[in-house]
């Protein structure tokens, strides 16, 4: 199970809105190499991992990726606060806004929706760890 801690892993305090940049950063939320895919990858793979050391780190990194996801969402949220209709059109954010308003929805920068096909979970430790290294190489 999980418990929520009411803080970000690192503070996000953005003072200037910028919907152009938000459209790029959102890919780190719901894109192919985003935090949601990273978290789901590790948390899905751990059940068939036969080594306690690796099961532990998949659990703890999978959890930490959720904290990263929260920071990214905070960034996107703060970059898109209080937009005027003119800003929406000028920035191109209107194409996102028409479907989601200023809510957070996991998508890539291209607009492609988040999908479980961004990661693999095969039940073979070497295969899964290779996939983890390819996806998030500096950690595992």
């Amino acid at each position: 199970m999980w418990n929520y801690e009411k803080r970000l892993q690192y503070p996000v305090k953005i003072t200037q809105t910028n919907p152009e940049i938000a459209q790029v950063i959102i890919t780190q939320f719901g894109g192919p190499d985003g935090e949601l895919a990273a978290s789901m990858r590790y948390l899905s793979q751990r059940y068939s991992m036969p080594y306690n050391e690796v099961t532990g780190i998949l659990t703890d990194i999978g959890t930490e990726e959720l904290a990263h996801m929260e920071m990214i969402c905070a960034i996107v949220h703060q970059l898109t606060r209080n937009l005027t209709p003119e800003q929406l059109v000028e920035s191109g954010f209107d194409k996102y806004y028409v479907d989601h308003t200023l809510a957070l929805w996991p998508q890539a920068a291209s607009g492609a929706p988040w999908t479980a096909t961004y990661f693999q979970s095969k039940g073979d430790p070497i295969t899964d760890i290779h996939e983890d290294m390819a996806a998030d190489g500096t950690i595992l």
Binding site: N3, Y4, E5, K6, R7, L8, Q9, Y10, P11, V12, K13, E53, V54, G56, I57, D60, I61, E64, E70, C73, A74, H77, Q78, I139
Partner: protein, 90 residues
């Protein structure tokens, strides 16, 4: 610190610092469970983190469910700003 009200921003930053130390050494310990120096480091910062979270809940607002249960008339968990909102990161 327990008798004088701590500065909110400083205490919050300290919580972020010690929590990062705990998070990081935790990952290291997963794959190095016999490293005595790392175990000691974990213990030290875990203690500091628990203490800081208690202080923050006492003087300001609870950041964890374990520190939320103080005898009060109102459930304070929902009162302070959420982390992504203005004032939620201090």
């Amino acid at each position: 610190m327990s008798d004088n009200k701590p500065c909110r921003a400083e205490l919050f930053e300290w919580i972020n610092v010690v929590s990062f130390a705990v998070d990081d050494v935790k990952l290291y310990l997963d794959t190095h469970p016999h490293d005595c120096d790392a175990l000691e480091y974990f213990e030290e910062f875990k203690k500091q983190r628990v203490q800081a979270l208690k202080e923050y809940a006492k003087y300001y607002s609870p950041l964890t469910l374990d520190t939320a249960c103080t005898p009060a008339e109102r459930w304070a968990w929902i009162d302070s700003p959420w982390p992504w909102q203005e004032g939620g990161c201090q």
